[in-house]
């Protein structure tokens, strides 16, 4: 298990989601990915996608204006 940083700052919807999915494809089941986004819509859009597809949102917080979402690949 490893945690990979997906730095998607300074792009716009659906850039952060697509960058997460791109990295998700390369990750192994059980791996964690931490997405960094400055796109405000990501705060609702990415959790919605995680929920729909069936991965697990482990943590969500904002730090210095940057949203951090920690996702576990479950399948």
């Amino acid at each position: 298990m490893e945690r990979k940083l997906v730095d998607a700052k300074n792009t716009f919807c659906p850039g952060p989601l697509m960058e997460l999915i791109g990295q998700m494809k390369l990750a192994s089941v059980g791996d964690e990915l931490e997405v960094l986004s400055t796109d405000k819509g990501s705060a609702s859009d990415i959790p919605e996608w995680i929920n729909k597809v069936g991965h697990e949102l482990l943590d969500s917080f904002e730090e210095d204006g940057v949203l951090h979402l920690v996702v576990k690949k479950t399948k």
């Binding site: 300074n10 792009t11 716009f12 919807c13 659906p14 850039g15 989601l17 697509m18 999915i21 791109g22 494809k25 996608w49 729909k52 597809v53 069936g54």
Partner: protein, 130 residues
């Protein structure tokens, strides 16, 4: 995961229209929907390999999209295919009019499709036009 059918017809050469079509196709596809995109009229030129065609902004939003770091619409269409198994079909009429072959189009573009087949395919689910 719930799935649905989404058919997207794209005929515009305007930046905003192409952007929105690419967003619907990519987000729809990665969310588990069965997405088919039909490229016709002024949209097909952009999908020629090494196309230098620039999408013209329709209004102020299109200009801002050009200036800011918004994902490129062609990258989004490609991601729709690669991440979400979307199918992107060139309209067979547009292919004939342009006098192009499959090899002239980007590799993620499927074989040409006729309008009759697209309409039949689109008879269920959501249909979007840009």
């Amino acid at each position: 995961m719930s799935t649905g059918k989404i058919s997207v017809m794209v005929t515009s050469n305007k930046r905003e229209q192409l952007q929105m079509a690419a967003m619907v196709a990519s987000v729809g596809a990665v969310s588990g929907n069965d997405v088919s995109v039909f490229l016709s009229m002024n949209s097909l030129n952009f999908f020629l390999k090494d196309s230098s065609e620039q999408a013209t902004p329709q209004g102020s939003m299109g200009q801002l999209i050009e200036e800011k770091n918004v994902p490129d619409f062609k990258d989004l269409f490609q991601q729709a295919v690669e991440y979400g198994d979307a199918k992107i079909f060139p309209c067979s009429m547009a292919v004939d009019i342009l006098g192009i072959g499959q090899d002239d189009l980007e590799t993620y573009i499927s074989e040409p499709l006729g309008l009759t087949s697209f309409l039949s395919d689109a008879s269920e689910g959501q249909v979007w036009h840009f």
